[in-house]
Amino acid sequence: MFHWLEKRPFFFAVGVFLVIAFAGLIEIIPDFAQASRPVVGTKPYTVLQLAGRHVYIKDSCNACHSQLIRPFKSETDRYGPYSLSGEYAYDRPFLWGSKRTGPDLMRVGEYRTTDWHENHMWEPSSVVPGSIMPAYKHMFTQNADIETAYAEALTVKKVFNVPYDKPGMPKLGEWEEAKKQAMEEARKIASEMKNQDVKDAVANGEIPEIVALIAYLNSLR
């Protein structure tokens, strides 16, 4: 058989692939199936948080901020407990990032607050002297795209069985309900903010991007 294979490079390559792939698969699949299950307490994002996540992706926050705390003491001292794979179960796509120009944001909701984010996004150097992060003032005037966020949540609920509307999990429901609920969350965040334009916009039934982004950042724990 080996003489036969030696003369046929294509089938030889297929054989090599199968042997190596087998070794890889029996190592990866059992562990992966276990580790990718949601950790207890991990919940899917609400519509408002998801809209904020879209803002985060749109403005490429992940180009400078990672969301992955490695198991090193220097990292857990600064950012909190190391990340577990199951914590990303509802992240589509995950935002691990590969470069830390700024700090890791995996658990930023644990140690930063709404009003800090408001100051920081308006003018980063006002709270972090020497920060090279640009200001994101446009987030205070542009509105977040709640419709797309709802569509995404509904899609992952139907296609991937993400447990929206299950006991103890975020409610999604029909569009009208979801919109009402997102507004309610937005009002709560706006009440902790100081920017009058944002407060007015929320009072008028709009949701500026900054409100959605803060909802998302506060949910990172």
Binding site: K73, T113, T114, D115, V127, E192
Partner: protein, 272 residues
Amino acid sequence: MNWLSDNINLLALIAAVVIVVLTVLVAGKYIKQMKTDRSTGELAKENWDGIGEYKNELPSGWAYTFLGAMIWGLWYFAIGYPVNGYSQIGEYNEEVAVHTKMFESKWANADRQTLQEMGEGIYLVQCAPCHGIAGDGMDAKAADLTVWGSAAGVLDTIKNGSKGLGYPMGEMPAGLLDGDSAKRVASYVANGMKGEKPAEFAACAGCHGVDGKGMGGMAPDLTKYGTPSFVADVLNRGKKGYIGTMVSFKGRLTPIQEKAVGTYILSLSRGE
């Protein structure tokens, strides 16, 4: 030959000489062999564009090494890895345990100067983003720690009230006292509640108790105001201040680190 007194340099030089000598000897052996050797043995059936292959026996050294590697592989698969399983998380846990033990024993009786320096380091990472590098609260974006712990800090709280640390008594209203009476109470509390108690303290006693001790955990213990242990209490409970929310740092700092942060913060208002 001064540079040879460094033993690393000396070793490197010896190694370089050995490598050169070995290379020359080995290369010489093979060059000589290529000149004189004749190929012998039976050719295999396959022939690739005129290049054939001898049906030689495996060199025994190679064969035993391969066999050994296979046995080692079985051992590693069945015993070596599963029984002595290394994991990154395990290494992390060991590292943290060792560090924690060393940290606790090394700084168990740290003096004030040491604590203050340690506290500054922690403060700059964990607290400065909101309270500012100088601790001044950055134009009222957070509590001004350069007055906290002094009479001015108490005065500030009396004037603005406090949304509290989550004690059962709840929120403290703003402006309970004003003018001179507020000042008298402020300096009394800031001095550790020693000396003569001003009559106006009655306004505080309703929640904090006549002795200011917080009536057994119903309200903050004012006798601890301006001490590291009060700071540790705030760190653990988090705070809903009149400016914004302060998150709880529970579990993020060790008791020694909390004490260090408290010592540093108090040094800010006392100009130490």
